[in-house]
Symmetry: D2
Subunit: 410 residues, 4 copies
């Protein structure tokens, strides 16, 4: 496998030190022409410098691809996932996981466009992201050559990497000289921090690892209240103002940030088999999850809701493990999306120092309205005697069993 030469490789390129080293290593190790792909997923960094850096490192202008994927990311990945009320291991909102399939997809599209025979990512060999990238690549282009430098190269230390960088005239900013106190991933949905200062799960995460939210303690003393409109399961407007998917999530992020909403300190189980500890900040997503549940609470039938709740853990594992493009994820999505046709209406949300409360819900599609609730001479009548029969038949098998048990005991 390692023997066939690589001609052209599409690298997921951030413009940072590590992927710049990878860029040069691909040239020196594989003798490959490198195509860089830099995506704006809302990580909060300018893309211009990435282009400059690639040019500086000798990448041909026609080999530099830069794309703003924020709308596609939120519309086709984040929102579908939130339709399922997805949480991994009861808590994690999958902010990192959900970004990988889209990057993989774009790399494959570029590889096809430029005639590249390989793709490359900068994820390490112990994490989940390598799996998510590569399952994406393979699902979309089964015979693509995948290069995972962190699993392949022989650099034994950070120093060896920096030596290589210097040797190839890769600029190294001062703060990259030492080891970072923790590592970071970020996109429009969330930011995560892990490693080093966070490695001991017994020790509280320091305040400085947080970047997307202020502490609840620092948030305003008065609540922020606003409305969120939904259409077919997706949020479409804040306080009556219609916003594009990315703009809406960005606005929710601001609201969450300012009110200290969306922090999570978690020990999770990685797909590759070990436990790891991370600090996640998902301000807008945390609001969205609560609001979506609130919207569903009046528009979704019990049967649909309970089925969704039963399917969710599997859906979450599929996303976490990188199986976004697997047919079983698509099957689950088909079921989930089917349920959302009437999840439309408005919820009122209150944020206060880390708390998200749903304080009101209305919908033209409501399955809850007072006429039905009081159940007096309305369209749907409720006869108390029905409850007796309902209970009796639900109890029947329990009674038969209890009689059997008594018969045997007696």
């Amino acid at each position: 496998m390692a023997d066939k030469p690589v001609k052209k490789v599409v690298l997921a390129y951030s413009g940072g030190l590590d992927t710049s080293i990878i860029l040069k290593w691909l040239e020196t190790e594989y003798g490959a022409e490198v195509v860089t792909f830099t995506a704006d997923l809302g990580q909060g960094e300018e893309l211009g410098p990435a282009r400059d850096k690639a040019l500086l490192l000798g990448v041909k202008p026609e080999n530099i691809f830069i794309e703003d994927l924020r709308e596609e990311f939120v519309r086709d990945y984040v929102f579908p996932m939130f339709r399922a009320n997805t949480v991994y291991e009861g808590q994690y909102l999958l902010g990192t996981s959900i970004a990988r399939p889209l990057i993989a997809k774009k790399q494959i599209e570029i590889a096809r466009a430029v005639g590249a025979d390989a793709v490359c990512h900068g994820a390490t060999g112990k994490g989940n992201d390598q799996v998510r990238f590569e399952l994406g690549y393979y699902a979309l282009e089964p015979d693509i050559r995948v290069i995972a430098p962190w699993r392949e190269w022989n650099f034994k230390s950070r120093e060896a990497l920096l030596d290589f960088a210097e040797k190839h005239q890769i600029p190294i900013s001062k703060d990259k000289r030492g080891e970072a106190p923790f590592s970071v991933d970020a996109n429009l949905l969330h930011s995560s921090s892990e490693g080093k200062v966070l490695e001991d799960p017994a020790v509280e995460a320091p305040e400085f690892v947080h970047m997307r939210t202020i502490a609840p303690e620092d948030a305003p003393d008065t609540p922020t209240v606003f409305t969120l409109d939904f259409e077919r399961g997706d949020p479409v407007a804040i306080d009556g103002q219609t916003l594009s998917p990315a703009a809406l999530l960005a606005r929710l992020n601001e609201l969450g940030h300012d009110n200290g909403v969306g922090r999570l300190d978690l020990v999770e189980n990685r797909f590759v088999g070990m436990k790891s500890r991370g600090v996640y900040e998902t301000p807008g997503g945390t609001i969205l999850l609560a609001a979506h549940r609130g919207m569903e609470s009046i528009t979704l039938d019990r049967g649909s809701m309970h089925l969704k709740d039963e399917l969710m853990p599997k859906y979450a594992s599929l996303v976490y493990n990188g199986f976004w493009f697997a047919p079983e994820r698509e099957m689950l999505q088909a079921a989930i999306d089917h349920s959302q046709a009437m999840v439309s209406g408005q919820v009122r949300v209150k944020l206060y120092k880390g708390n998200v409360s749903i304080i009101g819900r209305t919908s033209p599609y409501s399955l809850y309205d007072q006429e039905l609730v009081t159940f007096e001479e309305g369209a749907v009548a409720y006869d108390h005697r029905d409850a007796a029969g309902f209970i009796k038949l639900n109890a029947l098998r329990l009674r038969v069993k209890a009689n059997r048990d008594k018969r045997l005991a007696g």
Copy 2:
């Protein structure tokens, strides 16, 4: 079946106006001897007055049963349920649901002891509680006669009920003259409010419906931090002080109360088929859920945790619907309890104005320790190249499928 006369009936008696009316109605309607059962489940009321009231209403002293069930309630019902991280419809901690089976069980035990041929509860005909009580009765004593006055009697209005009360010299406190602005259920795990002022889900719940928690806004400006010790999935000590189950939950309730923790405003789906809106306060339970998840996060294997997450929605529905004594609930409990053998250790909990954060976890049973995480020359080695093979074989079916799809498209 409705025709056989009832000789002696065990009534779940609170001492309040409604169950006092039921008491008299059982005598007048059925000509039955009434045995009262009043339980302390931590609802926060003295039991002495209930005894006095029963005596006043003419119940024979030997027919008055009063029992403090707080320890049994927490140990055998609340804690087993929390081992499963149980939430109904993503949010509700089942505080009302979990109390009913125990009351039903005690009524049946008393019925056997006193030779009663019937049991009676005061739950209404539109709610879930009638189901929970009666499924409990039938599962334990299949041929017991069940009397549900709210489904049977002909009182057409609150006035008619009060007339009956006056006629039978049942004392009516002043505040019971009018309609209550909402109805309440409470026990050591939670309190709930529903009806009337809460019926419109578009309208924010008024502050005065809350009784177990202060508002986050009113909570202290400095966090409260403490440790919680677990043994085999159950909490056993706070800040190092070993407490009985009920004492521990009571202490968590205080901590939650003081920090505005555990409020929930929810529209839920009842087993009897309609949606209803309730406000729940579960201060201690909210803390316990977060802490238990934190404890499991370092002591539970991924396979166990994910299986638990997949089973939980069904478990929650069974508890909510009143199937506590059903064999499938017991099967699920057997699986859950099997997983908890090593869920022992300590978590550090931080409470602040409505937020519960787990800021530290330690355990002699930890599956996370730094030696394993860094995975250098440790007991369990991790070879980066393993990840390549892991990914390749996980991808294989996706690649075969992608090749099929390409073959067909090409």
Copy 3:
């Protein structure tokens, strides 16, 4: 609710004695105008006599509805269900259950067309069919009045019913004078027998209860082999001959009948809470299930197949319990149908004295082909060393756990 008069009622009318009695009872008891609906679902009876009987009993010609539903039944109900490989309690192919929603739907459509305010069925009060009919009615027309004579009338015995029939000049064939030795349901998918001679589950079902199959012992001594073509999960041709859904199922029934295929003697759990024993004959369906699984075995990805297998028991319960028109059944169907896009190709089937064997499968959509299996220098390569990594990472959590356990024991 029982008090409002009924003006016009649509009766599911078979033309038999029981539904003829119901017809007259509706007139005498409710003073209602009766509209009869008789459907051909492939039960194997002429519909002409039903029309004659209705006329004889005084039903106005414009109130007599007769419809051949065989194609709709197979295409829109039977085939979608078989896409899910549906079996209830591991064995039952749901032949009765699947027919009820369609009849209910047609009754509601007729009720709307003729302005009827009620519908009526002839199912008894202890069975599942009453539930299936009525859930269908209510799901489609929530305020329809439902009349279930067997739960309402006061006939205490078979004799009383016959007296009523005689009094109203309903013809009674000789064989209906005594009690039938068992009761029967039949449609194009199956026939069932239950009751009386079958009530003791310890006693073998007598040969004479079977009507759709000959005994395996009586089947030919040489196998019957044929091909079955599938398109998108549904069978479309036998031995190369394209057939309509109903014609295809009818032909499979013949093939099954002649080879003694599809008998089942079962004790099942009814939705209404009791166990019952039935003998089912589903000759074509038994073949179809095996053939569909065979077709899926080479065209369906593992992830899709396993997800389908996990969802199936719930799907089966929903169909069995009468929740065909419930949103959660539709959600599951959406997921299942999504998986069937490439379940196309051909299987070879061998029938022999009760056995169904799939002896060959081919498909242009196959995920199995020899080039892939041998995995030599093919499109998708397989490196043995990948297996080592795959195993190591799958084992990692088990090793961590085993080390923990050793540490504690040591």
Copy 4:
């Protein structure tokens, strides 16, 4: 990891050519002392020759371990699995999968006893068995060194292997000179055939691959009828004669063999990602599955049965994938075993030319008895009017939804 020398290795040794080659290869490649372990799992071969062969190849007598595991295999692996009615992908009874964990466990026990630092198996690099062996090893002894020769060595062809064998004086029987037309696995539960002549799933499996059953066509023209007694979910007696687990399964195998029962021709999905085609013969297991379901049908409550059906696919995948010793398999087993406490009684089984029919069931623990079924003035009464209420409340959410839909359409 490959560099540390191996001192002593416990080899799963069959006495056949392949594992004999492995034996010598371990000595020459690793310079390791080889300990052989040969188990009788009912594969139908004498163990004496394996001992002789090991001695001949120079293994020290004290390093030869031979054990009859048939009783342990059936009692602790086969029967627990059948309690769950386990089938993989709707059809496969997991005969190969279930044997691997026990062999792995014994190898580890021997490794501890003799102080070996490695274990070795003869499974190939494309199959499931390597996974099952190694997950077993690692789960029980996390730091054991595992040697998988088929993934490691450089023999490029069958000839190269045979050359090695000759060079090391390993006897080669004549029929091993050429390539076998298919490969075989066998134990007391089943035999499997795969590869070569079976590789094309379009082609019928030839008769000669079968070894455990005669063809249905060759089976007697008269049925065989017998009784099977169960205790707590496990079979204990045939025709009233109590038998040990292994003896009972062996007897069922004979009965199945003679009646052409238990053949399966299947394309399945391997854990390692590809599809494969196999022919399985599980005569006794096929009978046992049907009989166990028959026994459960009268002794198991609906809730338990349905929960078991829902859990089964996951349980089957765990066993198939080699996760027998994983905590989530044990959790599921705890739930399943809890359900079997009263699965005791007797079923009558009829075998006829490939068919297994359950023709009678009795049990002192029956939940079905005629008194309950007819439900006349018995212990558990059934009121037809209860069904009305049962249906009304089950329909309520559907009616509310239908009203919503009408309101929106209107």
